[in-house]
């Protein structure tokens, strides 16, 4: 008993300390003017990315290593990155109002911007870069090409103007344009070799490349010609690839590095706070990533909607999220849209959906009834999962336990990333736990991943649902937020009633950093706000 009381006291003490540190961090960040100088050392929790081309790659490892070297056309406001609707110019002079019934966006480009080799950056470079992303030449890969189905043409009528003409007006265009990987490259370099940026770095961002050691580190120095006045504040940075979590935690503790920008689990945060007190600041945020339960509709008995519904009804998301947040990088319950977005379901709306009800006992009774009705009360199946601790294996283990409460016998098959993706793509699974991770919160585009397999080839539910496609198409062409919201509810309800797939608990970003790091603000994605221009060191 005494032990329990001590444990509670310790937990309470830790929480108070954490609260104090969080408040201290917030206050400290607000106070004081930025100081110039210093080298920021941070870690990239990966083994190094594939190529250096942000247009081509999807992993954050490339972005965390290369974003400081590049400019983009528009971006999420670095001083307000937690907002899902606050976009501002980077290379443009002001956010344009669309003309031509929302079909034309005319961007004015800053004058006097220079690439790191001294050559001027003009609208021609911006148009060439965007054309590489949206309309890549044969043989050139663009990972996010499908995000820009609405774009008809991109032209630069003069050196200061870039014009995007759309096929249809849509709410998804501006957020898609704020893609942090949409680096502006030199047209001259692209004309010489479209693949040049896969092996080389040369942008117009706040830092210039000084050294890149394969798989080890990347270093940059301050770009004195940077166009945002006064920025960057740092003299330079060193980014070290450090895939192992214990190394990253120890490195922050010993001040070998100030932080990593992705996320650490709650245990690492608590350890650092306990040991470093006011020398550590923690920023936390809901994350535009989550796990998705995907039953394979082509495998019996998951072709039966009752079985799929029972699967979702058995899960107590509200209690589960609360409990798991103590050990895993998850926290908030949400639907298919990121909870911070205006298009997201409210808690009341969510609780009407299957798998989100407030009365778990009633839901589980209904699950048992549905299983009985489908003749599957003794169903046994295998959950395919990825061999990654945070949070896949934790969430997977929790789900197995939740399903056991309605009599389902579930085993978990944990495999490395390659075989996990391969099993899902080839349909060689019954139920899978997969991930949904987006960068800029762009709800209508983000929910495209839920579209049926005949439209979205990377949807591994292998179902067909023309009604969903029709709703999404209307949503894509809707320009009124309120009307889009109504359509989004219809879309979400359709997925949910058909129990095609279920979003389980959004991830939660926890970024502990040395308290001398100032100016950086956390966002709902580890892809955003990574150019380091606004970071300064208070040493």
């Amino acid at each position: 008993m005494a032990h329990n009381r001590d444990g509670r006291c310790l937990s309470l003490g830790l929480m108070l300390m954490l609260g104090a540190v969080l408040m201290f961090g917030a206050n400290a960040a607000l106070a004081g003017a930025p100081k110039r100088g210093g080298i920021l050392t941070y870690m990239i929790p990966a083994d190094g990315g594939p190529s250096l081309d942000g247009h081509r790659e999807t992993t954050f490892a490339v972005l965390h290593a290369t974003a400081p070297f590049y400019s983009v056309l528009i971006r999420v406001n670095p001083d307000n990155p937690s907002s899902t609707t606050d976009f501002q110019c980077d290379l443009c002079t002001e956010m344009p109002q669309p003309t031509d019934n929302g079909l034309t966006y005319r961007f004015k480009i800053r004058k006097g911007v220079k690439f790191h080799d001294g050559s001027p950056l003009t609208a021609q470079d911006v148009a060439a870069s965007w054309n590489k992303i949206v309309h890549p030449q044969p043989g050139v890969a663009s990972a996010r090409e499908s995000n820009f189905v609405m774009v008809d043409s991109i032209t630069a009528p003069d050196d200061e103007t870039v014009v995007f003409k759309l096929k249809f007006a849509t709410l998804t265009f501006v957020p898609a344009l704020a893609d942090p990987c949409a680096y502006i490259y030199s047209k001259k370099k692209l004309d010489q070799d479209m693949h040049w940026y896969e092996k080389n770095i040369m942008g117009s961002g706040p830092f210039k490349l000084t050294e890149y050691q394969v798989g080890q580190s990347i270093k940059g120095e301050r770009n004195p010609d940077y166009y945002h006045p006064g920025q960057p504040y740092l003299d330079g940075f060193v980014a070290i690839f450090a895939p192992k979590q214990s190394v990253r935690t120890d490195a922050i503790r010993a001040d070998r590095a100030a932080l990593e920008f992705r996320s650490l689990p709650p245990s690492a945060r608590d350890q650092l706070v306990r040991e470093l007190h006011d020398k550590i600041t923690v920023q936390e945020s809901d994350w535009n990533c989550g796990n998705v339960v995907t039953p394979n509709h082509q495998k019996k008995p998951f072709d039966d909607v009752r079985v799929r519904q029972a699967l979702f009804l058995a899960i107590d998301q509200w209690k589960g999220a609360q409990a798991l947040s103590k050990i895993a990088i998850i926290k908030t319950v949400g639907g298919i849209v990121f909870p911070g977005s205006p298009l997201a379901a409210t808690k009341e709306e969510l609780q009407k959906l299957i798998g989100y009800g407030p009365d778990i006992e009633a839901a589980r009774a209904e699950a048992r009834r549905l299983l009985r009705e489908a003749g599957q009360e003794h169903l046994e199946f295998e959950l395919l999962n990825r061999n990654v601790d945070q949070p896949y294996k934790i969430v997977g283990t929790w789900l197995v336990d939740e399903w056991s409460k309605v009599g389902l016998k579930v085993s978990q098959k944990v495999v490395p990333t390659g075989p996990w993706l391969d099993a899902m793509r080839s349909g060689d699974f019954t139920v899978a736990l997969e991930a949904n991770c987006q960068n800029v919160v762009n709800p209508i585009a983000d929910v495209g991943r839920w579209l049926p397999h005949d439209v979205q080839r990377e949807n591994y539910g292998f179902f067909s649902d023309p009604e969903m496609v029709e709703i999404h198409d209307r949503m894509l062409r809707e320009t009124d937020v309120d009307k889009a919201r109504i359509l989004m509810r219809k879309f979400e309800t359709r997925i949910n009633q058909q129990a095609h797939q279920l979003m389980v608990t959004y991830w939660y970003r926890i970024v502990p950093m040395r308290s001398y790091v100032k100016g950086w603000k956390i966002s709902p994605s580890h892809y955003l706000n990574q150019d380091l221009a606004n970071i300064w060191l208070d040493k």
């Binding site: 190094g48 190529s51 992993t59 798989g215 580190s217 390659g418």
Partner: protein, 323 residues
């Protein structure tokens, strides 16, 4: 002697081709491929066209036989191709990692030899005394303790002790700098992993030295040497130890070769950008070309190491001749 060396070197060729064929087939038996991992592992949506393009770029859309012939033809020209993951030549990827792995392997070997041979010999000479007991305990501890665990614990100890003594926790640097650029930085990074690896290595070698010494000490020529009135120090150093080193040298050779690519977990624990970590990455990313090249490298290192051990035999034991 020269004929022997040439024969051994020539034997490397079929060994390499056999290993190449094996790894080529095994890698392709693993479900999934590098393009799927590259585009799909981040959990975001991606354009399926990009996968097809990636396959075409990497030549994975060609028949397997064509890929294999291409691969073997490359080996014959010492061209191991480019990494499917990074697009860099595999030689660039390996050269970037080899120095740190080599440094740790050499340091660990030096530590192991410095500890194992004297202690193993002393333990044998002082058999069944308290000295023998302590040395054996030390050896059993080393063989029973996994290097990665020892690495984690030693890091924690260093962090906690420095924090308690100096008020600021300290740990080895996490970024590699070559020894000729900054010897202090380099050694402070490499020493702790070398000690943790060297301890296990020393323990295994120590046990081997001890048992070999015990065996040799029973030999007739040792009794003869004693009967001749030679002093004990001379008997041990000149007659016993040198002969007892044959199996120890074999073990050291095998261990050294293993260390180049086998420090997978230790390299992770200390954030060393070495060959072992590259091996894991290559397999995880299903980077066929890089994995194949790394297997080739490992085979070559083992063959060279075995060759050197064989040559050392002749020097250690004049009875051995390669006629």
């Amino acid at each position: 002697m020269y004929r022997y060396i040439i024969k051994r070197v020539l034997l490397v060729i079929p060994t390499l081709i056999g290993a190449a064929a094996l790894v080529f087939v095994l890698m392709r038996l693993i479900p999934g491929d590098v393009c799927v991992v590259r585009l799909g592992s981040s959990g975001g949506t991606f354009d399926p066209k990009a996968i097809a393009l990636c396959h075409a770029e990497l030549g994975m859309d060609r028949p397997l036989v064509v890929q294999f012939i291409d691969f073997v033809w490359g080996i014959m020209r010492f061209d191991f191709g480019t990494s499917m993951w990074s697009g860099n030549p595999v030689t660039t990827e390996i050269w970037a990692r080899l120095p740190i792995s080599l440094e740790i392997a050499i340091l660990a070997t030096v530590i192991a030899i410095a500890i194992a041979i004297p202690l193993g010999a002393v333990s044998a000479v002082k058999q069944n005394t308290w000295i023998d007991l302590v040395v054996r305990l030390f050896a059993v501890g080393g063989t029973a303790t996994p290097s990665f665990w020892l690495g984690l614990v030693s890091l924690l100890i260093v962090l906690n002790v420095t924090s308690a003594v100096f008020g600021t926790p300290w740990m080895p640097p996490i970024e590699y700098v070559p020894i000729w650029q900054d010897p202090i930085h380099n050694l402070s990074m490499a020493l702790l992993p070398a000690v943790t690896v060297g301890y296990r290595y020393a323990a295994v070698s120590m046990r081997m030295t001890r048992s070999a010494m015990l065996e040799v000490m029973q030999e007739d020529y040792i009794r003869t040497a004693r009967a001749k009135g030679l002093i004990n120090k001379l008997i041990i150093n000149r007659h016993a130890l040198k002969n007892a080193l044959l199996p120890v040298v074999t073990l050291i050779g095998i261990e050294f070769a293993f260390l180049i690519g086998g420090l997978v977990v230790t390299e992770q624990v200390f954030n060393l950008n070495g060959v072992g970590r590259l091996f894991v990455q290559a397999v995880q990313n299903q980077d066929y070309t890089l994995t194949q090249a790394l297997v080739m490298l490992t085979v070559i290192i083992f063959v060279i190491s075995n060759l050197l051990v064989d040559l050392l035999y002749a020097w250690l034991d004049p009875r051995i001749r390669y006629a």
